[in-house]
């Protein structure tokens, strides 16, 4: 919708016609056009409004991680099978200080696991023995505190797995319960260690043999099965960055880079279902949320059940460290761009805005 200067001028000051024009422009705009507002008699054509978007591109190569690759980048570690037939899965994680570009041209002095924020997505199977070899190459004491079932000595807090720079610690526990979990640093001051970037997703797939009542569901969740391969699985960690350390976030995102999936939408095959492992780690704000346009989803809070905990919803609210699994489908939908974003407009406008590009 581009109006000539003349026609725009004619409409200026004619409130009613002006409003009509605004309505039409809003109506006809595609999903790509970011939120447009009516501004009374002062009307601007779409071009003059600019767009709610960061300017420029983030250098993924310099960052050493790509938010699009992160969506499906499962860290499986290495496995060994013991005499009793039990699988031991081993991960190696290193804490290090690293400056990362969180929005084009904006560099944040992050503390990272394996040089990326969020840290590696550790993915195991229910019942496995897990060994996480944690090394601290950073400048502060750090821990890995897992949200899972483990003993007190493996809790990843001060006195139980906290290590100083140059030290190493091995966390060891069983992979349970199955679900969508997370790990993060639990050193103090806690807020600083969290929002500086020390967090990551920790996914435990259900073991179908342990769930005879829901074998199909369990198999579809288990990475490596043909049933699972049918799904389009995506990891989304909702985070924020307080760049001037005033305890308020300047930048919000999914997987760190503001507007990454808005500038380059996530391509979705229309006829394959989608499963999103959703984690909220946003500091300073009490809640974050996920909202899908033009569709509804089933939601599994914490991912610890094989039956949805909420059915047919299009918005879900999560407090910090709350997480869950979203299952949805665009089968038979009109191809095109479908927005998803936090339903806090504040977060949307500061970077937590994304698109699926559904292709037939």
């Amino acid at each position: 919708m581009n109006f000539s200067r003349l026609s725009r001028r004619n409409l200026l000051g004619t409130g009613f016609l002006g409003s009509l024009l605004g309505l039409t422009a809003t109506h006809a705009s595609t999903a790509l056009a970011a939120s447009e507002t009516q501004s009374g008699a002062m009307h601007h054509d779409k071009h003059a409004m600019g767009a709610m978007m960061t300017v420029g591109e983030v250098d993924n190569a310099r960052n050493g991680f790509d938010p699009h690759a992160m969506l499906t980048d499962w860290e499986r570690g290495t496995t060994s099978v013991g005499a009793d037939g039990r699988v031991t899965r081993e991960f190696e994680v290193t804490a290090e200080d690293k400056e990362i570009e969180i929005a084009p041209g904006i560099f944040f002095p992050a503390w990272t696991y394996n040089g990326r924020v969020p840290g590696p997505t550790l993915r195991a199977t229910e019942g496995e023995r897990l060994r996480i070899i944690f090394r601290n190459h950073g400048s502060m004491p750090h821990t890995m505190h897992f949200h899972g079932i483990h003993g007190a000595s493996m809790d990843g807090v001060s006195g139980a797995g906290e290590i100083s720079p140059g030290e190493e610690f091995v966390y060891e526990f069983d992979a349970r319960p199955f679900g969508c979990h997370l790990y993060h640093c639990h050193s103090i001051p806690l807020k600083r260690h969290l929002h500086k970037g020390l967090y990551g997703a920790f996914i435990i797939d259900p073991d179908p043999e342990r769930h005879p009542e829901a074998v199909d569901s369990a198999r579809s969740r288990l990475l490596g099965t043909p049933e699972n391969a049918h799904w389009q699985e995506l990891l989304m960690v909702m985070n924020g960055f307080d760049t001037n350390f005033d305890e308020e976030n300047e930048v919000y995102a999914v997987n760190t880079v503001a507007h990454a999936y808005s500038k380059k939408p996530i391509v979705i095959e229309r006829d394959r279902p989608i499963r999103i492992y959703l984690v909220n780690i946003t500091e300073f704000d009490p809640i974050n949320s996920f909202h899908i346009h033009g569709n509804f989803f089933d939601y599994y809070d914490h991912g610890t059940t094989l039956e949805p905990t909420s059915r047919i919803i299009d918005t879900v609210m999560l407090c910090q460290a709350q997480r869950g699994i979203i299952e949805m489908s665009f089968k038979d939908f009109e191809p095109g761009l479908y927005m998803f974003h936090a339903h806090q407009a504040e977060f949307v406008e500061l970077g937590w805005m994304s698109h699926f590009e559904v292709r037939a």
């Binding site: 767009a51 929005a103 760049t243 406008e349």
Partner: protein, 383 residues
């Protein structure tokens, strides 16, 4: 040769010390991994149908990159010209196409490469004037009513003053001193207000004082070079110049306020300024009571004193960088200071010489009335 070395030697030593300091760089010990010292300030704002245009100055120690812009807590696309990092004290224009809302507040944050936001608030968004359209005429008219018209009206008191006896003349001269004394303080204060908004690096607070005193001193010395001191017409011209510069500053302030939407300029406010500035006209013609000034001289004086208000308004609406406003005010204050001294000298010569009448009561009353008049009319302006 030896004489030359005596001159060059200290300079060479200064250069040597500078090089040595940079070489040793003892401060590097404190600068380890310290983020760059960034500072940005918005000096001018233009608002139109296409959004906002900001003149941004970098005043930190290091060059600053504007990585992103947030408007009302939202990332917003923008264009910077010229692009690239802003060198120390350099300026760039930032253009943000934005659907701003008439009469409402908007908040802008410029985020640097470290993510440090520099924030600016537009209290009431209204369009700044566009080109030579009707707005210019309107602003020019406001300028005339604020500057030129009252000065002319004030000058109409000349015949009345002329009928007065020598004692009343002393009263009138003292009255002028009172008026100008108030104006001097007011101009300095406004200059310092501008200085508050200017880039810190420019040290405008200090510069306002220095420029005011320097202007006063230079004008005074020029006056001394003339035979028989300063002539009445010359004195009137200098008063007009001082008041003109003051009115230029006043115009800048009113224009800036109009452009920024910080005040709703009511007709009442303009009339207040008009009344306030009538006293300026009286001040200008006070030295001319013994003369027979022609119309060209009178209109020349009125033009010099009053028309700068029009210019000030036009410039102010375009949003002039605050350090220029501060300078205009400082020069104006200096000119007024010089006039104050000249009139004081005349009063001393006429009324405190040998065998003079020494009408102390009239002079004190005149000076006080001048101050009170200015203060009272200023109350209307700020109302």
């Amino acid at each position: 040769m030896a004489r030359m070395f005596r001159v060059i030697g200290p300079f060479m030593l200064i250069a040597l010390v500078a090089v040595a300091f940079l070489k040793i760089d003892p401060l590097s010990r404190f600068q380890d991994s310290v983020p760059p010292a960034e500072a940005l300030m918005i000096e001018r704002i233009n608002i139109d149908d296409d959004g906002f245009r900001f003149l941004v100055r970098s005043e930190g120690a290091d060059a600053v990159s504007i990585a992103q812009v947030q408007v009302d807590g939202a990332f917003w696309q923008f264009e910077q010209s010229p692009p690239g990092p802003i060198a120390r004290l350099g300026t760039v224009w930032i253009h943000i196409p934005y659907p701003w809302v008439h009469g409402e507040a908007h908040h802008v944050a410029l985020l640097t490469g470290t993510g440090t936001p520099f924030e600016y608030s537009i209290d009431v968004a209204v369009p700044t004037s566009q080109g030579l359209g009707g707005d210019w005429l309107f602003y020019g008219l406001v300028g005339l009513f604020v500057g030129f018209v009252p000065v002319v009206l004030g000058m109409l008191f000349l015949p009345a003053i002329r009928q007065a006896g020598p004692e009343t003349m002393g009263f009138v001269l003292a009255l002028t001193m009172g008026l100008l004394g108030y104006l001097f303080v007011d101009t300095l204060a406004e200059g310092l207000d501008f200085a508050e908004e200017a880039a810190e690096t420019f040290s405008m607070r200090e510069m306002v004082w220095i420029v005011a005193l320097l202007t006063g001193a230079v004008l005074f010395l020029i006056g001394r070079r003339l035979d028989n001191g300063i002539s009445p017409a010359m004195l009137a011209w200098t008063i007009a110049l001082g008041i003109g510069l003051h009115n230029l500053g006043e115009g800048l302030a009113i224009g800036g306020a109009l452009a920024g939407g910080a005040v709703a300029l009511g007709s009442f406010l303009v009339i207040g300024f008009t009344l306030h500035n009538i006293t300026e006209g009286i001040g200008i013609v006070a030295p001319l009571t013994g003369e027979r000034p022609g119309m060209p001289l009178l209109f020349g004086l009125a033009g010099l004193a009053g028309l700068p208000a029009v210019l000030g308004l036009w410039l102010g609406v375009q949003a002039v960088s605050p350090h220029w406003g501060a300078m205009a005010m400082a020069v104006g204050a200096g000119a007024i200071l010089q006039v104050l001294i000249e009139i004081a000298l005349i009063i001393r010569k006429r009324y405190f010489g040998e065998g003079a009448a020494r009408p102390v009561g009239g002079i004190v009353a005149g000076g006080t009335l001048g101050l009170v008049l200015m203060y009272a009319t200023s109350l209307i302006v700020t109302a």
